[in-house]
């Protein structure tokens, strides 16, 4: 059993929380006492932070719509199809025909990468996220 310090994934408070890891499974969440926000306690969501990680409903494979149905495919196929579709849309209707939504649930690095990809890769500034929702 190992305690890995991380930051809670729910609200903007940003509590320091230990994920208890046993055999590559997260089996608990425990507040950090020394962390300036959590100060030894979490809210109900934080105390149960570990519960959704291994949920049976997690997506496990890339999916591609074939004949109206989402079916598992390889990573390469899913990525190729996506890159191809974005490329086509850009060729046909211009870069501003593509819209990108980033996420307030993802990391700074991922958001940075996605806006870089949108601006430098796709050539549009159509990028936003749910800041106002």
């Amino acid at each position: 059993m190992q305690n890995v310090m991380t930051i809670c994934n729910y609200c903007g408070c940003g509590c320091g929380v230990y994920l208890c890891v046993d055999n590559n499974r997260v089996v608990g969440s425990y507040p950090s006492r020394n962390h300036p926000i959590s100060r030894g306690n979490l809210c109900s969501k934080g105390w149960h932070l570990h519960q959704f990680i291994h949920s049976r409903n997690r997506l496990r494979e890339p999916l591609l719509r074939k004949n109206g149905e989402l079916l598992p495919v390889s990573w390469d196929e899913a990525l190729d199809v996506t890159a191809d579709a974005l490329h086509k849309s850009r060729e046909r209707s211009g870069p501003d025909s593509i819209g990108v939504l980033a996420s307030a649930k993802c990391s700074n690095e991922e958001n940075y990468l996605l806006q870089k990809f949108t601006r430098a890769g796709l050539g549009t500034n159509n990028i936003d996220h749910c800041a106002r929702l």
Binding site: C13, V21, S55, E61, V100, L101, C106, L113, F117
Partner: protein, 531 residues
């Protein structure tokens, strides 16, 4: 937030407006209550009698959408009582005289009538706020999610500047940020008009700096905002979308228009950890790694950039979003898509983003994070903003005038629906919380809060299902009778896909911030006839 969360605990007066803090920001609520228990005064502005409002010395339960009238009323009282901070106004602000003259022309009784709160209560609140030099204002989406959201924020800023309650420890104006990394997503420019660190996309010198690193030309014209994209419609400008970890088909206003857009896209790819309602519409779905399965930083409400450590490898065949983006980038010939770690990405961020200039992984690893602006390695971060100067120089007073919400109650739709996060146990579209057994047990279904008086008029029993209708759609929902809402107002959340409350909400937005008016729309309730 301009302040740090910890500072709230030592403030003398806390004015909380449009925030159900104990439920939505529990740790901030904890600091507020600690201040109250230590003798601080608490003023809560909220149409609902939230748990925090119950602890308030004064609860100003205004009619939804009358924030400006209320703040103007408070400012006028402060002027009348000679409680304005003249020295601060003359040294640090500009444009005060027009505001003063405007306030003097207002009629206090009229303002009080507009808000639905008796003048005496407003008077008392204004004096408490203005008399202390350690007064802090916290606000949340209850202020911004209005068609006049930007003006609401300006009114709040006017109030703080009028009394000099900014620019020092324990006093300031604190927008509470909702999602764990909404602050960071903004900082990183997941926004249509800026580059990382809020640098204007229209500024060619700034673009040049980025172009030098990115090796590609960056378009100079600001892009479309989220609602402009999701409401672009059947033949709209948006033909293809890539969505990372968002669920607009539940979270966006006026859902039927969003559905129309999504059903007519040529292509939609979604990366998420669950098969959300939005992912169900996609052509391609990428299984993303959850926060526990990757490394990266997030920025909390007080601008604290913190390191999230990887606890386990990605489950099944999942991959971190960063890998997905880079793979797509490589396939579309985007240069600079070969980072080996999030550490390496941060190196590029700190190079291009001055406020993140001192954010280095080794420093974040050693600490509980650093608060931006953090200019360089020697800078220790910034506890509170606007010390010595405002971002734009002098603080700018701007006149804000009361404006009625886009929709007002009428005969057909006599009730006002306020939406927001409705439960302590759920988050946003609840994709994560509804996959947590305990949280589902605690709050299993969507509820509509209604006042006992209205329930009586409509002959509704607690726990009964009703049909809730607006001009745009209808949903079936279970009611809960409570004194949290005033007569004439009902409240619900958007956590439950079975009750897509945003079928009802309006797509009217604030013209500047593009923030939708989630807090006011007119609805009617109908008893559901038993089969």
């Amino acid at each position: 937030m301009t302040n740090s969360i910890e500072e709230l605990g030592s403030a003398d007066v806390l004015l909380v407006t449009g925030s159900n803090t104990t439920e939505t920001h529990p740790q901030i609520g904890r600091n507020i209550l600690e201040a109250v228990d230590g003798g601080a005064k608490l003023i809560v502005i909220d149409p609902r009698r939230t748990d925090l409002a119950k602890e308030a010395h004064i609860h100003l339960n205004l009619r939804p959408g009358t924030d400006i009238a209320l703040i103007n009323c408070m400012m006028r009282i402060i002027l009348d009582e000679d409680l304005a901070d003249d020295l601060f106004i003359s040294m640090r602000t500009e444009n005060f005289i027009p505001l003063r003259d405007y306030l003097h022309r207002l009629d206090l009784d009229e303002l009080s009538a507009t808000t639905g709160i008796e003048l005496k209560k407003i008077h008392e609140a204004a004096c408490i706020y203005a008399r202390s030099s350690k007064s802090v204002i916290c606000y949340c989406l209850g202020v911004t999610q209005h068609s006049c959201g930007t003006d609401n924020v300006q009114a709040v800023a006017n109030l703080a500047m009028l009394t000099g309650n900014v620019e020092k420890k324990h006093s300031g104006v604190d927008p509470l940020r909702g999602q764990n990394n909404v602050q960071g997503a903004c900082d990183m420019a997941a926004l249509p008009a800026v580059l990382p660190g809020y640098q204007a996309i229209t500024d060619s010198a700034i673009r040049d700096r980025f172009q030098a690193v990115w090796k590609r030309e960056i378009p100079a014209v600001p892009g479309l905002s989220l609602t402009e994209m999701t409401h672009s419609g059947k033949d709209g400008a948006i033909r293809a979308m890539f969505i990372m970890g968002e669920n607009p088909l539940i979270s966006d206003p006026h859902l039927s228009r969003v559905q129309e857009t999504f059903e007519n896209l040529d292509f939609l790819a979604v990366s998420d950890i669950f098969l959300t309602e939005t992912a169900q519409h996609a052509h391609v779905v990428f299984p993303a790694a959850s926060f526990a399965e990757k490394r990266g930083t997030i920025t909390n409400s007080e601008r604290r950039v913190q390191l999230c450590r990887q606890a386990i490898p990605p489950i099944a065949n999942c991959r971190p979003d960063s890998e997905i983006i880079m793979e797509l980038g490589k396939r579309l010939d985007c240069p600079g898509m070969d980072f080996e770690s999030s550490d390496e990405i941060m190196e590029e961020i700190s190079l291009l983003t001055p406020i993140y200039g001192g954010m280095h992984y080794d420093r974040l690893e050693q600490s509980h994070g650093l608060q931006w602006p953090c200019w360089n390695r020697d800078h220790e971060g910034t506890e509170f903003l606007h010390k010595y100067y405002f971002t734009r120089g002098k603080g700018q007073f701007t006149i804000t005038r009361h404006q009625e919400p886009a929709e007002r109650p009428d005969r057909t739709y006599p009730y006002t629906l306020v939406t927001g996060r409705g439960s302590y146990h759920h988050y946003h579209t609840a994709t994560m919380t509804r996959n947590s057994k305990r949280l589902v047990r605690e709050y299993p279904e969507a509820l509509l809060e209604i006042n006992a008086q209205d329930a009586k008029t409509l002959q509704l029993q607690d726990g009964e299902k009703v049909e809730l209708l607006s001009r745009r759609g209808k949903v079936r929902i279970t009611i809960t009778i409570t004194d949290r809402v005033q007569p004439g107002t009902v409240f619900s959340s958007f956590h439950f896909f079975e009750v897509p409350i945003n079928q009802l909400t309006t797509s009217v937005m604030d013209p500047k911030s593009k923030c939708p008016e989630f807090k006011v729309c007119s609805v009617n309730l109908q008893k559901v006839k038993h089969d």
